[in-house]
Every structure is written in C-alpha cells, then in structure tokens.
Symmetry: C2
Subunit: 512 residues, 2 copies
C-alpha cells in the first residue's frame, strides 16, 4: 500500500528523462551562456535593424513540430542562421531607436534566477520571498527617487512590479473608475472623463478603451512647440470645466515626465493643483525618464509628484533591468485592491487572513506573476546607486555631445530642447536649396531615416511634432559609448549629404 | 566635427564599465548556471512550502539600496541564506499544490536566450523573428492539439503568446464587448451579460470588472456533484433566455476544460451549440488541462472547440515552458485588433503599411512584449511531440497510481472522478468514529492539509466542492517521479493517522 518497494514496474521507463536533470542542465546552461557572450562580442557587426522580408521565417522552418528530440547544438545553429538575421538588435551599441531596452549582466542574472526558481508568486504564501523582496526593492527605489513617503510601504502606500506601463495605467485607471462608480453609480460609466495631452503615450487611450470608457469622453489636450509640447494646466482646467458644465464626471489625468515623442515634461506641480480641485486621480507616467530622477540634478522634473496618486517608470528601459519590469507606486493600495482583488476558495490561506501580508495578485491584472524583484535587486546591488547615477549621466553626456554635433552642422537643427538622453533633430529647411516647403522637408527627413536604417549601421526612429517630421536619437544602450555616438553622427551626415545633393540635382533638372 | 579623434577626453572615465562586457557576462553567467544546477540538486531537501513568517525579509535586509557595487559572490550568498528560505519550491518534486509550474532545461534556455537578446517585439519591424517565430510555433502547437484550421494562421485565425490566462480572457472579453457595442451602441455597456459556471476561474470575474461590465450582469451558473461540476447547457440556456426577456444582451461565455478546483470538463459541444443560437463569444479556458490534449486519448475533451471563438492554455503550467506563457488562439484576429490596436506616429513603419505582417501589440493589452516564442520553440524541439506526450502520460499514470492508493485505504475517498493528473481526495466521514457531520469532516481535512504542509515534506492545496473540503493533489512537476508520489501518500497517511487518533481520543474524553 504505497510503499516504494512495490511500485508498478512499468513506471520506470515511462517518463521522459533529463528534462531538468541538474548535470544536463549545467552542461546546456554553460553552452547557452557561451552562446550569448559570443553574441555580445559580435553584436556590433550585425545590421542593427533586421533586413529580412515579411514571411522569411515560415519559409525556412518546418511546417510542424518535430516528433523526436533535437539537440541543443542543432537548435543553436538554427538560432544563429535563422533567428539572428530576423532580430533587430536592441542591445547593439548602435541602436538609437524608440527608447532603449537596456540589458545588463546583473539584470540578466536576476531574470535567470527568477526563471530557475520558476515560482508563481500570486500571493505571499505562494512564495513569501517573491512578495517581500518586491516590497523591499520598490521601497529602495522609491527612496532613490525621493518619492514622498506616502508612496512607500512605510508610509501607507507601496510599490509593485508589473510588466509594462500599459498595465500600470490600466490598473490605476480601473481603480479611479471604480472609485467614481461607487460614488456615482455603475450607470454613470458613460459620464467619466479621462484627460491627457496629444503627447501622452497611446497606452492611456488603449487602457481607457479596455476599461470601457466611452471614447467620446477621452480628452486629448493639444500641445504646441511654443510650450515644448507640455500639457498646459490652463487648457486642462478649461476642458474639465466644460465637461463639468455638460454633466460629465472628470476622473483621471495622465501626466508625463519624458514623453515618447520628445521627452517633454508636463508641469506636475500645477497640473496636480488643477486636478486636486476636481478630484481627479493623477497618474504620472515617467516610463523612460523616471530613471534619470535618481540623480539630484534631474529630480526637479518630479516636483509635484507628491500630489499625484500613482507614479510609474519602466526599469527595463533605462535602468539595466531586462524586459519586462514596470515599477508602479501608489499612495492608496486599497483603491487598487478594491478593483482588482479576487479570493477564490482554492487560494484561501492563513497568511492572507491575518491581513499582515501583501497579496500582489490584487495589485495587478494577472493572477500569476514572475519573481521580477530579483532582477531589480541584482541591478541595484551589483551597480549601487553611485554607478547607476553615472550610467544615466553618461548617456545624458553623450546626448549633449550629439546635440553639439548637430548644432555645429548648419544643415541640421535640434527641434526641441533636450532634457535627458534623447535628441530630436532634422535636416532643416534652409539646407534644401529651392525646396523648402514643410512637406518637402518632412519628406527628405523621412528618406534620411529610411536610408540610414536600411544601411543597418545604426537604427533610429521618428516622430511628428507639430507637423514636423523629426528623427529621434535616443541614447541609453548599455554597450553604447561615445565612439558609437560619434560614428552614428557620421552615418547621418553621410546619408544626408547624398540626399541633399540628389534633391538639388533633381530640382535643377526640373527647372531646366 | 564628430570624428572619433577629437572626442572630449572626459568621456573616457565617465561611464560605468562592464555592465554588459562579454567576458564578465560569461564569468558571472557560468556562476549562475552552477548555482542553479546546485539548487536543483538540493531542491528535494528544502521544505516545500516556505516556513518563514510575514515580514521576515525586511528585518534582514538593509533599509536602502547600497551606494557602491557588490559582488555576485556576495549577492548569491544572500540568495542562499535570505531568499531561498522564503521560497516555496514550485520546482520541488514534492510540490503538488495549485497547478504545477513545470520548468525544464529547454524552457529555461529559451527564456535565457530571450532575456539575452532583450528585444521588444511590439510590432513586426521591431524584431521580425520575434513575431514570425510566434506565428510558427502557435501554428505548430495548434496542429499538435488538432485545433481546427480556422484557429491557425493558415486558416485565417492565429495564435499569440500572452502572459497569463487572465490576459487572454480580458482581451477576448473586450473584443466581444466591443463587437456588441458597435452593434448596440456604447450606451448599452450596462446590458451586456457574461456567463460562466461557479467553477470557472476567478480570472473571468476580474476581467469582466476590468472591462467595465456591470457586476450584476455576471452570471455564475451553479454546478453540482451529480454532474461532476460541469457547466450544464440547459441551465446556461435558461439563464440566457431569462436575460433576453429582461432586455439584456448575452455576450460572452467562458467554458473550461479542466477547472481549477477539480479539473472538471465542461461539455463544449453542447455549450457552443447554445451559445451559437444567441451569438455569444465562446472562450475555452484550458489553462492546465489543454496540454494533455496533444495525446490522442485526451483530445476528446476538446470536442466542440471548433465552434468556439477563442481557446487558451498555459504552456507554463504543464508543458515545461517557464512562467509566463499563455497560448491564445482566435478565429477572428480582427476582432481583437479592432479593440486593441493603436498606431501612434512613432510606431508607423513600412512593414505595417503593407498589411503583410502581424503586429502583436494589437493582439494584447501591453505594447512591449518579450520574445516568448523562443522558449516554446525550444521546448517543442528539445523534447519533440513524442516525449511531450510521454511527459503528460507519465503524470497521468502517477495520478492513477495515487488514486489507487487512496482507494485502497478505506479511511479516504476520491471525491470526484479524475480526468488528468490531479486527484481530489479527503478523509471520509466514516473514518471519523462518532464525529461525522460534514463540518467536522471538513475540519479534520483542513487540519490534515495544514499539518502536511507545515511539515515541509510535501505541499498540497485545497478547494471546496459542493460544501465539501477537498485536498487537491496535482501532479505535474518536472522532477516528480513515482517515488515522490508514493512517499507523499505515506506522509498523508501518517498525518491522517495521528489526527484520527487525536479526534477519537478527544471524542472519548468528551463522552466520559
């Protein structure tokens, strides 16, 4: 009856072997580390933006999964020959597109460890260390950012590590929505209004749609070049007043520190003042630029955050912590919990009943959650606050240098003031002899971007600011140093030179 | 002007070194592999459920992040002495709680590679291989499950890898909601009704709340032991009819293959027939048990899925793919895209404009996304369909064996029929001489669970089925073999024996 001696014999051969056998794990793990170390060695040689065409991979992979096991050696060979050509190399020192996705050895190791433990930390009980380390590191990070105590666990608030800003925004939006619906009744969901600027990340609009907000109650307040694309508190208040007069219920404001297009910084202090008068939930999205605020010289950009309800940044962008790791701090966790809590019988446990623990499942959309705190802890400890500040300052310094290079070449202009490590520039109209209407200028800049990216030597991306097509040069790659920035500028200059000559020649031909 | 020769000298020392230097990455990576291989070696010796008390970690960690770098050696020592005691060891061969979180060497390596590349594959352009491999592996997996072609890319549908089932359900629910709102008008959001059974995972209720559904339009249809806790199609239809008569709009049904409490299987064929008549979106949640359906002998449980709109399972549960990896297939991707698409200027690109590529950001809540396809690809190739089936069959075989052990001990009973690798059992009333009202029986089973878990020798979890407290014994750990199952049963027997004696003695004393 259940003794080990009389086990049915057929079991012995029935189970696949070695799927997690320690010595085989060790052997293959070392192989993978070597593969990746070699990848980083070679990374600068790959075209930064992948040069494959749509559908390339399906053509070279089998139509079905194999019946029999294949060796790691075979699979890695396919990674090298079939996957790597299809990768846009975000870790390349010559990647300057979008925002950086800054990996690091420490972030990588923390993620490895988390994957190795493979715990599912939905509540405290399911793995206490996963929850408690997250409590500790979000407090650490919050202190580094000089967040007010009300955002820390010690002050009644607290931090949580989610996947991305999209998730953080959705969670806080739902909390704000439900707070209003409790007050005004479920039937009034169609009256709730969400505010942002035309520079706010599209994540907000998506979150509002997901949360069932009426799209006609989504207020996108216009910004302009004259105010560096900041959200204007007066315009916000006008919009709110108009909505109130029309019987709507203002509910949520998303302010941004470091917008995606141009790293504009919304004036938090005056915006939160307006928001307070109308009882709006204010979320501050500092996805990219928040990390910089660990440096005293950048902390000013967060002034006013003390009057916000929630604040988030992506440690996976410019803080060496691999994707994904969005840090969200809230002043009032119970608002999140009221909206997001579930407590089915199969998860009931003594620890939760004591009310002495945090159950992070109630702070986020998902139930299951990875042990993300490990990688943030590894990054904070491996580099320390001092080096992390230098990391940020290094990139900002490189951006200043790049800005100087742009300024020295009178064919180009910096389009908006630079705050952090991104420079928005373009070929300026005066460089285009005889061809300087805005549409043509936009077109040559679009061509410049495309030709630079097609070269594979660097990768940059674009935006449009007040009708102006702009090239975004975002510095933040872990492997990027000043030489890469310098060489990147040479690439831009070379392609711009050819394009301007071509434009001049074609203009002359047309005029003949 | 930007040449490498005349760089400002101060840059040289300004940047932190070695945050991703290949040789240092290699050295530390090998250390971490060894640490994890040793962890797997020792894992069976750790108490399965962590034995720490709330707040244990804050007491032993510093209050702030360090200023200066610390070595990996130091950090790993802290992992060993401070983190591991707080871990509930989901990879332990003696973990039988919740559902398994089955890691494997292949899944781990795939995740490592994904972390190493650290690409952000929000759209095709941002890393074509990330999107295309996901297209390929979801088609592969769909074929292994014999999903109808309409769920595959080749048939106009397609698969996507999300984080968890919570996310998959929320996405499909929002798609269904918006389809209805487009038809009936935004004002009718308060009339939409969601259906499920009282066994459906709490993820659905949470998703409905997030999506702004009125909680009073959430229909939880009662199940019973007599029908093995299946959702009854007739009851569903009655509920729908009642709602229609009351002017409400039936919208979404979530059916489950392998419920969390007891792995009950809802009758998909007849449920989808009912749903079709009222134009409900049917989602099939096979989070745990879906993996089993790659074996022909279990495929019957999916019969009827061809009439559903969407289907999901968690490859991170019982398919060797580390957390997180939820596979979602939909017949009509455009329904998802209509609800979840965003296209800000800074993401515009030629590939998207051609309409020849999949941009997965429009299939999910988040914008940024990890390269999850790698780990599923690694698992499928490293083990092959044949071994993956044996892996499933092995666990089912162990569960059958465990079921036999329970049946042979007349103090216990198996509470519901076993379909897959989970056995729901309890001490049965007749074992409790003179103490057999249902409340007392529940209490002794609760005590049994608690004492077994406190021992640290195994970890099991519970549920309540029709008022009956049940111990769930879920097999699926990668390291679990028949000896662990056998030994686990010994542990249960030992603690039950003591509890039953104590109960008998105390009863006798009371009766004195």
């Amino acid at each position: 009856m259940g003794s080990i001696d009389n086990l049915p014999r057929q079991f012995a051969s029935q189970f696949p072997q070695n799927t997690l056998e320690p010595e085989e794990f060790r052997r293959q793990g070392h192989m993978m580390i070597d593969f990746l170390a070699d990848y980083y060695r070679k990374i600068k040689n790959y075209p930064v933006r992948s040069q494959v065409s749509p559908g390339y991979l399906r053509e070279i992979l089998p139509e079905s999964a194999p019946c029999n096991p294949e060796s790691l050696e075979t699979i890695l060979q396919d990674v090298q020959t079939k996957i790597i050509p299809g990768i846009t190399h975000w870790q390349s020192p010559n990647f300057f597109a979008y925002f950086p996705s800054s990996g690091s050895t420490a972030g990588f190791l923390g993620e490895m460890l988390s994957t190795g433990f493979n715990v599912v930390g939905f509540n405290w009980m399911a793995s206490p260390a996963a929850t408690e380390l997250e409590n500790v590191v979000t407090d650490w990070f919050g202190k580094m950012l000089q967040l007010p105590k009300s955002f820390l666990f010690s002050g009644g608030g607290g931090g949580v590590l989610q996947g991305t800003t999209c998730e953080a925004i959705l969670c806080t939006l739902v909390a704000a929505r439900d707070k209003n619906l409790r007050q005004h009744g479920m039937d009034n969901i169609g009256k709730l209004v969400v505010y942002c600027s035309d520079q706010t990340h599209s994540a907000l609009q998506k979150a509002a749609k997901i949360a069932g907000m009426d799209p006609k109650n989504f207020r996108t307040i216009e910004t302009s070049k004259s105010s560096n694309f900041q959200l204007c508190p007066k315009r916000l208040e006008s919009a709110i007043l108009y909505d109130v007069q029309n019987g709507l219920i203002p509910m949520y404001l998303c302010a941004t520190v470091g917008t995606t297009s141009s790293t504009a910084v919304d004036p938090l202090a005056s915006l939160t003042e307006v928001a307070k008068r109308y009882e709006l939930w204010v979320h501050v999205d500092a996805a990219f630029a928040g990390s910089a605020c660990i440096c005293p010289e950048f902390r000013q950009y967060l002034d006013g955050v003390e009057n916000a309800d929630s604040f988030s940044l992506n440690a996976h962008k410019w803080f060496l912590t691999t994707l994904d790791c969005c840090c969200l701090w809230v002043k009032n966790p119970s608002a999140l919990i009221k909206s997001l809590s579930t407590y089915p019988e199969y998860l009931r446990n003594n620890a939760t009943e004591t009310n002495k623990v945090v159950d992070y499942k109630d702070w986020q959309i998902m139930l299951s959650r990875r042990f993300r705190a490990l990688k943030l802890w590894f990054v904070l400890r491996s580099y320390g606050v001092g080096q992390l500040r230098e990391f940020i300052r290094g990139h900002v310094g490189m951006a200043k240098y790049f800005e100087g290079l742009v300024a020295m070449d009178n064919r180009f202009e910096v389009v908006v003031p630079r705050h952090f490590s991104m420079v928005c520039f373009r070929i300026q109209p005066s460089a285009m002899i005889g061809k300087n209407d805005e549409k043509e200028v936009n077109e040559i800049n679009r061509k410049l971007l495309e030709s630079v990216n097609e070269s594979g030597r660097i990768y940059v991306s674009h935006t449009v600011l007040g009708g102006v097509y702009v090239i975004r040069f975002a510095i933040g790659g872990t492997l990027t140093d000043i030489n890469h920035v310098s060489a990147a500028w040479k690439v831009v200059q070379d392609y711009a030179g050819s394009l301007l000559v071509d434009a001049f020649v074609s203009k002359k031909n047309v005029n003949k």
